[in-house]
């Protein structure tokens, strides 16, 4: 049996602790955390201490470490592209980058170019596209993507802390603990909030949308929803897409994706992130009342890690090549830009 692939984390924050460490713990026969780098040395040390045999180091040291096969880029968004490229050029065998894997189209192109030279597989942490229920439903009912007239994403989530507290023992943020006043930045504009939502929450939905919208669609309407959320309407050749989100709320989570076609209907309900609650439940209903559902005990994060390990070990080709991921980003940026233009025109 091969040794487990060594994993090095660039960034020891909440997503690393609440999402990736529990996932890797379940997959310890194939993947093992060996190094952790973070600008906050205390956080890096605390995370490494939970992983037997792992050490803390700088990012450069992590990239030079031959025991690190896979680099996880889980740092602030604006650092993603440069760190992904650094990992590729360091000769790593694989990269898992948290969403978004770049913040501009130019950054995305640079990653694509670097990958073309070095052939390193990259997986982006948009876990819903790897969710077994989505994969099964969308594969079996491919024609729905052409026939659908209305496609909808609705995301209603309680505060993340509710789920991170169930996934780890992460204490409150340092700023909140210290009791010291936190520097107050100017409040973001509605356009900025929507951009954050599209490149953040909606990143999970974009790969789904792109199965239905084959060109960058026109943004027909963009609304900011207080206290934090969005309502976007997109259109392509008479096909309507709606993206709704509102966070946080005091209710239970509801994370749905729906597609309506004259002959079939797709409904997917995802569990919240952070907790290992299994896959979504996906149901396809067809004319005559017949329906079929899929559900798995494995969630999208587990499946994307398994997939990356399979790709590195040469068992399967990459399911979502980096160009496809770059196209996802271009699509998302198009949504954000379209929303910007509409909101600015109403000022």
């Amino acid at each position: 049996m091969n040794r487990p692939l060594g994993v090095g984390f660039v960034g020891a924050g909440l997503v690393t602790q609440a999402v990736h460490l529990p996932t890797l713990a379940v997959l310890r026969d194939r993947l093992r955390t060996v190094a952790v780098a973070d600008i906050d040395e205390a956080a890096a040390t605390a995370v490494a201490a939970r992983c037997p045999g792992a050490r803390t180091c700088t990012v450069d040291e992590l990239l030079q470490d031959p025991t690190v096969d896979v680099v996880v880029v889980s740092s602030p968004d604006h650092l993603h592209a440069s760190q992904v490229i650094a990992a590729i050029e360091a000769g790593k065998r694989g990269v898992l980058c948290e969403k978004p894997f770049a913040t501009t189209a130019n950054e995305a192109r640079s990653i694509v170019d670097a990958t073309a030279v070095h052939g390193v597989p990259i997986v982006v942490g948009a876990m819903h596209v790897y969710d077994p229920a989505w994969v099964a439903a969308s594969t079996e009912w491919e024609q729905l993507t052409h026939e659908a007239t209305l496609v909808r994403s609705t995301i209603y989530l309680p505060p993340n802390e509710e789920f991170t507290a169930l996934a780890t023992e992460q204490p409150p943020a340092v700023e909140a603990r210290s009791g010291q006043p936190v520097a107050v930045a100017p409040p973001p504009t509605p356009a900025r909030m929507i951009r954050m939502g599209v490149l953040g929450l909606a990143t999970h939905t974009v790969p789904h949308l792109r199965r239905f919208f084959h060109r960058p669609p026109r943004v027909a309407s963009a609304r900011y929803v207080a206290p934090w959320g969005y309502h976007l309407v997109i259109e392509e050749d008479g096909k309507i897409g709606e993206l709704l989100a509102l966070v946080p709320g005091e209710w239970a989570p509801a994370w749905r994706f729906e597609a309506y076609a004259p002959s079939a209907m797709l409904e997917i309900s995802y569990p919240p992130s952070f907790v290992l609650a299994g896959s979504a439940t996906a149901t396809v209903s067809i004319t005559g009342g017949e329906s079929r559902s899929w559900r798995s005990t494995v969630n999208g994060y587990q499946r994307e890690w398994q997939h990356l390990a399979d790709v590195i070990e040469g068992k399967v080709p990459l399911a979502h090549p980096v160009q496809e991921v770059a196209d996802d980003l271009t699509f998302a940026l198009g949504l954000a830009d379209g929303a910007d233009q509409l909101l600015e025109s109403h000022l």
Partner: protein, 260 residues
């Protein structure tokens, strides 16, 4: 025991759900070929003329089945005629007439006043029914909005209507399997999720309210909206003050829809 109300059953256009409704209320209604106290009218094109004929023929009540949008002036004329003659014109609405909706409507309206998002999707089996479904959808959504105007953003294979106000409003109709209406009314504190099946069977709707204390679901009522509304019509004819979706309410919905 009160005598059954005679229902004039048309030769065509009487739906299976109406047959089931009458069969389940045998002491209240009795179908006849001619001269009933209650006249049923198919809500497709020309329904205002057919309903007016029923009013003039001396019916005590006219039930219009799922009307499609008609000229507001013609509906006003029908309403005035019916009032002059003392005839009840009830509008059978697949969603607003749902017993599930009846049981939770007032609570939803109360929560909607502080909501930031109202989202409804109607699914119909046949593209020809989209306009009727959108009008029927208004009967549920309009009471949540108060006085407002709408904006028709898209029309075609799917229709989308929104509102330019404080709360985001999305009202869409599309063609697919499993005809139904869904409604989400969301604020940061409370979220309602309501699913009303199409009025073909006694399959119950589902309505639940979630807040920090948890989820409370309405008890399922296995009764079609048709049966629910016909019982209300019978109660009104018996002199009881039972709410009925009537032409005044329909006119509010028509006017709101025509603003889009």
């Amino acid at each position: 025991m009160t005598a059954a109300l005679l229902v004039q059953v048309p030769a065509t256009g009487f739906t299976a759900v109406h047959t089931a409704t009458l069969a389940s209320l045998p002491d209240t209604f009795r179908p006849v070929a001619n001269g009933g106290a209650i006249v049923t009218v198919d809500g497709r094109s020309g329904w205002t003329e057919r309903a007016a004929l029923g009013v003039r023929a001396g019916a005590r009540a006219v039930i219009v089945d799922r009307p499609e949008p008609d000229d507001i002036g013609r509906v006003v004329a029908l309403r005035d005629l019916a009032k002059d003659r003392g005839v009840l014109v009830a509008v059978e609405s697949p969603y607003a007439g749902s017993p599930t909706w009846s049981s939770c409507q007032s609570a939803v309206i109360q929560d909607a006043s502080s909501s930031c998002l109202i989202d409804s999707v109607a699914v119909v089996a046949d593209a020809e029914d989209m306009d009727r479904a959108l009008l029927a959808q208004m009967a549920v959504v309009r009471p949540l909005l108060g006085t407002t105007t709408l904006r028709r953003l898209m029309a075609g294979a799917a229709t989308l209507v929104t509102r330019d106000g404080d709360a985001v409003v999305s009202i869409s109709v599309t063609v697919s399997v499993q005809p139904r209406l869904t409604l989400d009314v969301v604020s940061a504190r409370v979220r309602w999720r309501i699913e009303l099946p199409n009025d073909e069977t006694a399959q119950p709707g589902r309505a639940s309210r979630e807040d920090v204390a948890g989820r409370r679901a309405e008890r399922p009522i296995f009764c079609s909206s048709s049966r629910w509304q016909w019982r209300a019509v019978a109660a009104r004819l018996a002199g009881r003050d039972e709410p009925v979706y009537d032409l005044d309410s329909l006119l509010l919905d028509l006017r709101l829809l025509s603003s889009a």
